[in-house]
Amino acid sequence: MAEFRLPANSRIMKGVTHAAPPGTRAVRTVRIYRFNPDSGANPRLDTFELDARSCGPMVLDTLILIKANVDSSLTFRRSCREGICGSCAMNINGVNRLACTTATRDLAPEIRIYPLPALPVVKDLVPDLSNFYAQYASVKPWLQTRTPVPADRERLQSKEEQERIDRPAACILCACCSTACPSYWWNSERFLGPAALLAAYRWIIDSRDEAGGERLDELEDPFRLYRCHTIGNCTDVCPKDLNPARAIAEIKKMLLERHS
C-alpha cells in the first residue's frame, strides 16, 4: 500500500545551531536539511544564523556564504547562477525553485531549504536524478526523420513552426515540476512525469520530426501518461514559466483524435 509516513531512517531530527557572529544587528535564520550517508545517522535540520547584511541577494548567495564561512561540509549543486543550468533546484520554503533566481527578500523572515521532494538523497541538498534523466532519455529527445537531409540546406521550419516549439524547448530539466507532482511521488517508477512529457510534446509538435506516431505509441499507457490527473503543480512551480500541464493535455487530445 501507499506509504504516508516516512520510513524510520528518513525522519528528520533536530540539528545543530550555528549562532550569528557577535555584533550582528539583523539576523537571518536559515534552516537546512542535512544528510550524510556515511554517518549512518538520520537526516537533521541545521540552523544557521547569519548577518543579513553579509548575505547576497539570492538564496544561492546565502548557501555559498554558509559553505565558505560557516560549514564547508554543506553540499549542494550549483553552476551558472543565472537560471539556465537547472542545477540548484531545491525546495525553498515549501516550493521547488532555483536557489539562484529566488531572492531572499521575497521569502518569509526564516528560510527553510530541503532537497527536491520524493527523490533518494545523495547528500544534503543533492538528490539522485538518475531515474529522472532516464525518463527524459526514454522519450528519445532528438530529431527522428525518414526524409533524407536536403543536399543544399538544413531542414527548414517556418517562423510559426519554430514558435510552437520555442517555449517547450526552453526547459532546463531542473526537475522542479516532476518532483512537485503528487502523481510522480507515488508512481515515479512508471509515470514519466511532467518534464519528460513536456520534452516528448516538444518533439511530437516539431514540424521537422517524422516519428510523431511512434512517440505517441510509446506514451499511450495508463501509467506513463495517464497518471497525470491535471493537478497543475508542474506549471505552478516551473522557474522558466513553461506549461507542462498544457503540454500533457495536448498529448491526451492528440491521442484521442487518433482514435476517433
Binding site: M1, N131, A134, A137, W186, R190, P222, F223, H259
Partner: protein, 128 residues
Amino acid sequence: MSLRSPLGKVLGVGSAKSGVQHWWVQRLTAVALVPLSVWFVVSLLSLPSFDHATVVAWMSGSWTALLLILLVLTCAWHSQLGVRVVVEDYVHGAAARTVTLVSVLFVHTLIAAAGVFAVLKVAFGAAP
C-alpha cells in the same frame, strides 16, 4: 539491490498502448451524469411527499424508470473508472493491485445489477 540501468528500468516492458478509452469514457460518463443528476434531484424534490406509495408511483413511470436505470448504470460505470485510478495510484505491488482492481470491478457490477433490478421490480409493479 539491482544493477539494471536506470533507462532499462524506465523502458521496462514497454507501453500498454491503451488508456485513451478509459480517459475518454470517464469524461463522457461525467458529462452524462450532469443532466441525469440534475433531473434526479429536481424530480425527487418536486414529489408532493416521500411516502412509500408516492415514490413507487413515481418510479413506475416509464420515463422515470428509464432515466433511473441510466443513472444507476452511468454512476456505477463512472465510479468504477474513478476508483480504478485511485487504486492504481496508491496500491503498489502487482498482486495486491490486481486483487483490488478485480474486487472493485465485481462490487461495481453487483451494485449496478442490483440497482437496475430494483428499478425494474418496482416499475413492473411487483408487490414490495
